[in-house]
Symmetry: C2
Subunit: 192 residues, 2 copies
């Protein structure tokens, strides 16, 4: 489960991930079957489970890697200077996280150290999100009556809320964007 020691095992693990990646590209996350992964990777089913605790653990890797890619891009851009820019910066993240209902549920389930004892890739991306947001909040023209990391937690909460609602009603990207903008304006720039 922990990074294997022998070369053979590292290669097997890499083959499993490559096979899974290809299958996801073809048919999406939800349709992924362990049986197909091992078939394509050319290993037995038991081997899969000596590399990953369960199917979700593989998903954690795959999805975590994608989110990290998106966060890389977000970090490469410059810090948003108002709510609209912040929303714009977060759109790509929201889009991926809501690409499939299955993916969104998985992310929620793994966003905390929650279900797993050792913190996984997805949970780590939530830590990264926090750090990035804290940086933004220090620089920009946002409320200061409350610590930046509390504000960042709120941004995360509203991000989740906006995505969750996205699945309920008629969902367009624009609607999700607008909803997040309303939330963040009220959260980050109260005008009491």
């Amino acid at each position: 489960m922990a990074e294997p020691v022998q070369k053979r095992a590292r290669e097997t693990r890499a083959r499993l991930i490559a096979a899974a990646d290809a299958l996801v590209a073809e048919r999406g996350f939800e349709a992924l079957r362990v049986e197909e992964v091992v078939l394509r990777a050319g290993v037995a089913k038991g081997t899969f489970f000596s590399h990953f605790r369960d199917k979700d653990a593989l998903m954690d890797q795959l999805v975590g890697a994608r989110i990290n890619g998106i966060l890389d891009e977000i970090e490469a851009g410059e810090a948003p200077r108002d709510v609209d820019e912040m929303v714009a910066a977060l759109v790509s993240l929201m889009r991926f996280m809501t690409c499939e209902r299955y993916v969104f549920d998985l992310i929620l389930r793994y966003s905390g150290a929650a279900a797993v004892e050792e913190i996984g890739p997805i949970a780590r991306t939530f830590g990264r999100q926090m750090d990035i947001a804290v940086g933004w909040l220090h620089e920009g023209p946002f409320r200061r009556d409350v610590p930046a990391d509390l504000l960042a937690e709120g941004v995360q909460a509203f991000l989740v809320q906006a995505m969750a609602l996205h699945f309920c009603m008629l969902h367009s990207d624009q609607a999700m964007r607008d909803r997040l903008a309303v939330y963040l304006r009220a959260w980050l720039m109260p005008a009491v």
Copy 2:
């Protein structure tokens, strides 16, 4: 699936729910097995699935009923006049929703019309929550620069956030309470 028409079917459905309730009382939600439910109810497996779309649909009923019971009590109490009272009013709700990781995940999955086309019991309880919160926010000494229903959505978002974090770290009821209090103070009474 919709309320059955013949008496026999209504009784069967009631027996299934009663059996499930008993099993949940004995061993919790996560440990519930469809096979055991039908065994105890004295019906065949197929019968279960002609009464409930799937196992989760039954869970939706059971959990929704519990939440409604809690909301009844909350509504019976009087409206909180500050953040601390509001948190206190919400504690019982949070406690049930976090009684099992499985339950929390289920609730998140069903909190929107999300996975199901017709809106279910759990989703309806979220509507009720909103209504109750809006009532509170109109009466109490909370910020007015933003509509009450937006504030209520925020309360819900922070409620979820507090519960989610509850599963990550060392979780005591007190910690969850305190976290929610911090969120709601910043959300409902900004001092810019």
